[in-house]
């Protein structure tokens, strides 16, 4: 399903494009954030994946907003994505 994806600062790692609209392939179980990150790492990250993802989750210092709310309030990695959800990654770090 369709997902607008916004980036501030990490956009350098994504070919300098700040906004992406992604359509995730259909699958039987609903997509959660964990799978989304795996998907992003595999399909969208142009370089230096370690500056964006670390292990299962995003690198410390990267803020994730789902529909303009802190993902900590939504369940972080366990949150199940809905159609047209807006996900924004904001880097609060110095470099990158």
């Amino acid at each position: 399903f369709l997902l607008p994806l916004g980036l501030t600062h990490p956009h350098l790692l994504f070919g300098s494009v700040k906004e992406h609209h992604v359509t995730l392939p259909n699958q039987s179980e609903p997509w959660d954030m964990k799978q989304l990150l795996v998907w992003i790492r595999g399909n969208m990250l142009k370089e230096r994946p370690e500056l964006f993802v670390q292990g299962d989750t995003v690198r410390p210092g990267i803020l994730v907003l789902i529909n303009d709310a802190d993902w900590e309030l939504m369940g972080e990695l366990e949150y199940e994505l809905q159609d047209k959800d807006n996900v924004v990654f904001i880097s609060t770090l110095h470099g990158g």
Binding site: T8, L12, P60, L73, M74, T92, H94, G95, G96
Partner: protein, 506 residues
Amino acid sequence: MCQVDEEYNGQLEHRGAPRVSKKCVKCKENTAVLIIRAGDAFCRGCFKDYFIHKFRAMLGKNRVIFPGEKVLLAVSGGPASISMLSQVQEGLSRDAPKKLRFVPGIIYIDDGGASGQSMEERKRAVAQLESVFRATNYHYHIVHLEQVSSLPSSVLEAGSSATEKPETGLSYKAAVDHFIQTRKNQNQHSDLSVENGQSHLSSLSMQEVQNEVTSPITPEHTQALQRLFASVRTLTAKEDLLHTLRQHLILHTARTQGYTKVMMGDSCSRLAIKLLSNISLGRGASLAMDTGFSDPRYGDVVIVRPMRDYSSKEIAYYNRMFDIPSVFIPGLDTKAQDKASIQRLTESFVTKLQTDFPSTVSTIYRTSEKLHTACPPQNTNTQLSAKCLLCVCALDTKLEEFSAYQATLISEQLSQRRGQGPGFTPGGQSQGCETGEGGCCSSAKSVGIHVSCPQCIRLQCLHYCTAGLCTLSVQNINTVLILRCNPPLFGLYKVSKAFHRDAGPC
């Protein structure tokens, strides 16, 4: 031992599994959208109030900005400084309940020359920021890092330490009351007059602004700057050198344009990282000044840090929610590895720790609040010569038993090679240094050239500042090469002049 991933056998108090649709802890009505600190969830409206209130409370608590003062806002384009700019606008706006009362100006330092950006990229970044600045209607200055070569050496000196109180010598509260009274008496529509005053100021300055922005920098300047940075071997030292040069440029602008205060946008997270990095760099003696709310080292210009209570998360979220445009400008350490410099490593350490222990940054911050600058007894004899040339902090060079300084001297002696040091070879020419005879480095008599061997420079620097990094900055630099630039980069020139003045046994 302390490690981020240390196993605690399940006794670790991890943050609980997040609950869905929490209510705001403040108004208890609306759905929370953000978690700050260790679990306070705020809704959008309450967060905005909290954010704005914190800024004014910070300025109100530390009563250092007097009404009518000219304050220079140091904006780097990053989220924290842009947020600070928007808070200043918010606070100065007409309908703010207890509005702030100072005259703001903005300074942006274009350091693209040092971080290897092309002229087009730099122009683009400057244009983007200019549009942001123009929207504020404040006077702004765009300064290129290359201009550091034309700074006078007075920048390296602290100004008179008289605080900028109004001539009547009023206390803060009295000054505010006095200001309000004066405004009321001047014009019935007191708010209008202030606004007219400010817009008059900005229209006056538009012509000057043109000059400020278009001051040309030649490719030679940029190359000289690049040579300077290229000759600094480590990223740690580069970052520190950049910081020092920026401070000098800001200070110079403040002094020449009549600003008595400078506001820096260092956030809580950034200051926590700075605190720890500075300790690693040997700058423990100046921690209070480097991370405190007000930094009085320059005397006539005081640096304040009103954003020091905001975490990066709060700032990022506020900017996103309320559409504050920040401009991303790649710097020296963009995309650098975690271990590329001490500053990066510390940042990575603190940030990682913060994810699992959300009170890390605030604990470091609270600790730093307890640090105060101990004022040494004012003694006119020692005052002038007792400051580091580069960072203008008091020297930590009392040779006491078991002091850090003594330890550094001992290890220097132990590691120094015997006999005459190798001749320094700038650009193929070999010039020797006369340390072998027990005399100090001789200096070529022509202006701006000082020849000495690196070891001498290292030891000499030590005598000027035990803040480890000032030593590091200079010893890493290919000093003779830089001093051969015409005009010589001011700071290092001054350093060499000082050595010459103090000629004696190394």
